[in-house]
Symmetry: C3
Subunit: 205 residues, 3 copies
């Protein structure tokens, strides 16, 4: 179970690194800008979580994470040089997979430290969305996660299931949380769901 989880975690890192590379591409950044944006996106969420939990930062003693980031950034650059277009659909699919795993990982790590279920939901969501937020802040965009279709809400839903189902079965909790986050995100993308909190006022300003 652990190894499989580790591999999926690295897959999530790779996908997020690719999304950081695309942002760097759009902003005409050079080689190092690519590496920084790819890294911030891929490990920014988990690093913030570990700092707040006062746990060892997960990539500090495992260089594999940075190698995956470099490989994913390189692959994305090569792709962009040979193909003119960006396969948005496939990326969004991979991104939905990535946030599902990051949410579960973050909530799990928080529960292990002994915080309340409520706080574990916050830290799971933070793990999934902070990386993309850092990416957009550094690239001078209003963070996508603060504007787009239910991005974070799917993480909150997934993390909540993960926490609530823990008493029954850890594996069940994980499975339901992954499926919930992933499929809510895909549905939100397909049907352009959004949270209309301020939408009525939008035209007045």
């Amino acid at each position: 179970m652990l190894d499989w989880f580790y591999i999926t975690d690295l897959l999530g890192v790779a996908v997020f690194a690719a999304s950081g590379t695309l942002q760097a591409f759009r902003k005409h950044m050079d080689g190092f800008g690519v590496v920084v944006l790819a890294s911030l996106t891929a490990i920014g969420g988990g690093t913030t979580r570990d700092l707040i939990l006062d746990e060892p930062v997960f990539w500090l003693h495992d260089p594999i994470y940075f190698m995956v980031i470099l490989a994913a950034a390189l692959a994305t650059i090569i792709w962009l040089r040979f193909k003119a277009y960006i396969p948005v659909n496939r990326l969004l699919f991979a991104d939905a997979l990535g946030i599902a795993f990051f949410t579960v990982l973050g909530a799990e790590k928080a529960l292990n430290v002994g915080v309340s279920g409520f706080t574990a939901v916050i830290l799971g969501t933070m793990t999934a969305v902070f990386g993309g937020m850092l990416r957009d802040v550094v690239a001078r965009e209003v963070p996508l996660v603060l504007k787009s279709e239910l991005y974070a809400t799917t993480c909150i839903a997934g993390a909540t299931f993960y926490v609530l189902l823990q008493p029954f079965s850890a594996n069940l909790a994980m499975a339901v949380a992954l499926v919930t986050t992933f499929s809510l995100r895909m549905l939100a993308l397909r049907y352009h769901w959004s949270l209309p909190v301020f939408s009525d006022n939008q035209d007045k300003h």
Copy 2:
């Protein structure tokens, strides 16, 4: 004493959460954007302080903080839907109260860890102003705190009194620091005081 301080701390969190919600409103963000901006504003300063002091992050084992943030954000949203205007004066009053308490809390926590009085002033000020700075950076504004009337300088003054009066009486130090920060801030707002460091050069560029 402690309970009263805790309640005022939560009041400060509520006020800062409301100010984050207003920023999200101005930027047309959705529900999650509201929660993120409200949270960053309300707990960003204290979280940074705790990370630097290597103390447990204050909200990690106390879910009340996030509940207060959610309640304050919700109340602000409801207010904005029913009333068309924002009560700026009342908000600035509450904000001045909030930074006064955050300054004292931050300086106190820093002194407890055993840093010098000078560094305690820095950490007190950081507690009060970092949240608003994070809010503005994420919302793509030049941080208000870096531009507005003596915002941070009032915190520095309050924290300095707090540190200098410690040898005489902890309660006196606290009272003087609170009153200093709060009233300097209100006076600065009323009379548009500012620090004119670069004002002479402003027209040349």
Copy 3:
């Protein structure tokens, strides 16, 4: 050796504080904005490194750092008031010196904690470039370090030499790393080297 290193570290802090002050000047910020930008630039990189390494933050029990920052910011402000121009060449020289020392310091501290050489290179580079990145993000610029001539790449080269030469001699490693970072940076500035990763595509967007 240690004292000399400490002094050069403070020199690096002073130079970075001056560069933060110049950014605040360009953005018409007031006195506190100057102090914040100067501080973020000067100690942002080292603070992030220490948080990630879970080491005590280097300035927490040594107020000298902030005094150097305040002195450097003040000197820069006085300079700007009396002289109308900014001595860019001399600043870039001092900046190249600063990043050389910060890179070596960061890599050394990371190796002491026991991370791999690969991760030490990342943390050395992070120490040198994160401060300037924070400065630009807060001042709402696309970070210079993500766009300019080989800025970070010179740090990566220097840190790599530092790590690879450790088995032979710590002093040799330090000397080679310093000279490499510094001279690569000066050469990159002089001949406008850049990493052309995305340059072919730049005209298409």
